[in-house]
Amino acid sequence: MRKSLLAIAFATLTTSITAWGATPPDTLVVAQSLDDAISFDPAQGFELSTVQSFNSLYQRLLQSDPNNPVDLRPTLASTWQAGADKHSLTFTLRDGISFASGNPIRPEDVIFSLARVVKLNLEPSFILTQLGWSAHNIDSQLSKVSANQVMIRWNADVSPAFVLSLLSAPVASIIDEKVTTAHQVQGDYGHQWLNTHSAGSGPFQIMRYIPHEVLLMTANAKAPTGAPKLKNILIKNVPEAATRRLLVEQGDADIARNLGSDQFSALQNKPGVTPVAVPIASLYYLLFNTKASPVLNNSAFWQASRYLFDYDGIANGLLKGQFSIHQSFLPDGYLGALKDTPFTYNPEKAKSILAKAGLKNVTFKLVVNNQPPYLDIAQALQASFAKGGVKVELLPSISSEISAKMASHQFDAAVTSWGPDYFDPNTNAAAFASNPEDGSSTLAQRANWHIPELTAATRKALTLSDNQQRAALYQKLQRQVQQSSPYVIGLQARQLIALRSNLKGYQQGMNPDMVFYNQVSK
């Protein structure tokens, strides 16, 4: 009897074992870390994993073409018209479109969605408040023109082209006012509810979300851009990259995100798996706090540092596949991005620049995130700077501690990364080449770098409507920053992912939000 019971248990167990190795046919299973996820409300969500879901859950009036992100395509709006004063835009909504709830998409929804971002004043709200919008004036800046038209006005001196770029950012997602207000608590514009639910018109909607565990999205057949090909997207929290690799290798996940270069190399030539390095807009750079010591404020030291960064050794050796060499503040793929790479690793040249400036026995402390690839880069820099006679002491910390140190200027130098907030060159220009000295936390402000001329030029670029003129001005700004600034921009990242080979139609662009699941089939 005991033997037969054991046999039954073993048989059942082996039956369940043999069932492993394939994901459900109607479901895309994605293995990634969800530990960063705080909010799925577009008015707050600014973490990688929530931003990556916004294209699936919500739509904007206009959005980047997945194949050519510089091209903004009408999405919920069919057309738009700039006002004669160049401080307004009138959008005409597409006919017969509706949210996942079945509610029609109206001008009131557009007004509600944009106004709540400004009134809630959460992390990504700064993208829209650049237009001079505030909780006090926003209601007067947005108005319904007709049953399918809405007018948007702004006070800031910026061109309609720039406003269109901002309105294509996830923070400008259009939300179902009726559903959201039904879940409003204490005048929070439905924020608490939207943290874990969705009320949009995207190709998917949130079916179930367990924080830091799983996000299950199910198809929205009523999506204005058409129903998606798969029924479900299941995003599992798998915090360890090595485990993600095993899952995709075994066929228990269709996509594994954010692999390290070692996992990526291990998956090359594995049957059934296609490793892909997606170029993304994150730049890795060295930043000096100019007030930390006179040496760190010396432009000769900045110049020497550009020859002590082992660009090729890191991008093509140490972290092969994970980076490309990039030395300007606009990532490749952005309007006006400068592709020149005038600097190479040359310790002798760096030594002569330092000697000419009378700088001897230079030493500085470098704060660095204690996670790969930051620590790998920092260690490579420590070795390459040592060859030029510069001693670098590494101070590994967790990312939140580094942010606090940089905000309070309690650091000498940092090696870190910058990712754009929306698809417009201003997102990086305003960080690297602008310090308005008004409390704005730009990178120039973190570096204590005072640059009134560059700040004014960055501001001026926003007023230009002509893309060629804008691109020319941004190129000039990039050259200036490239030649003399307390930054050494060295690398542009690639996101290493692995897909099951039977997967078709997956698209991922260079900005964090540019993840498209709607055309995926298997």
Partner: protein, 350 residues
Amino acid sequence: MGFTVSSITSTAGVRRLIQRLTGSILSLVVTLFGLLAFTFTLSHLSPVDPVLQLIGDHASASTYAQVRHQLGLDQSVIQQFWQYLRQLAHGNLGVSQSTGQPVLADLLRTFPATFELATCALILGAVGGISLALVSVWHPKSWIDHLARIVSLLGYSVPVFWFGLLGLLLFYAVLHWSAGPGQLDDLYLYTLTPKTGMVLIDSWLSGDRTMFFNAIAHLWLPVVILGLLSMASITRLLRAGLLEENSKEYVTLARAKGAGRWRIVWQHLLPNTRSLLITVVMLSYVSLLEGAVLTETVFAWPGLGRYLTNALFASDIPAILGATLVIGSCFILINALTDALVWLTDPRTR
């Protein structure tokens, strides 16, 4: 050993038991208060800015000021602590900044996952550890004694995440004996209704036996890895205790009087080392309940250890305090239980 359980059922015994219990509850409250005050102070001494962690580097100054006010960080530390205690008295542990959810809901979700893993690992660790220690005392310097020493040495010295990754590679990727990371296959994530938060029990209650076996197929590998860790500490400490006891004169006398090996083990060695045994097993349980963060990370197990670690990195003070409260309570309760068990079973301690 003239001890019988009935002796504590007398009135005096009951009174003493009540006194001990009252003392334990008082010490629980005082210790938890001290623990909270200490953790709260430490959290505020941390160089991490919780506001920056929440809103990132790119947000505007007005957003920073608003969020700082919402988190109550513009008040003094004492005021913040007082507010926290007041809310706690109403059963409100606050809202986690890193999940956006009430801390209580997060704890009710993550603690059962850790409890399930820790309890299964402890059972394995205790059974394996006690057996190995007994056999190694039974046959000192035999191969099994060497095995016991190797197991305890390995368990102590090899990092658990490395064991975990190797285990996954061998049993999941190569041999396909384990169902891999996570608590259940994706298929069941749609259908399982959480009742207790423990997948093994929930899947059993659902009536779907295939799901239950799937839960076992996911659970056994992390249990074995953690069980090995627990087994190592239990074997090492118990083996030393048993060997020491084995060298005492009363054992030699018992042997001289012709007592068999089993009789010596069951009637002399084990009863005289029970305090040590209970303490070692309970300590191991506490350390498992604290959450095996590395094992939980490698096996994508949504437990308390990982929740607390994420909260620490994010300087998420409500979540840190909530998790500390749970772990502290476990520690104190298990300590009290250990004391009570030792007191009940070992007359020498009364």
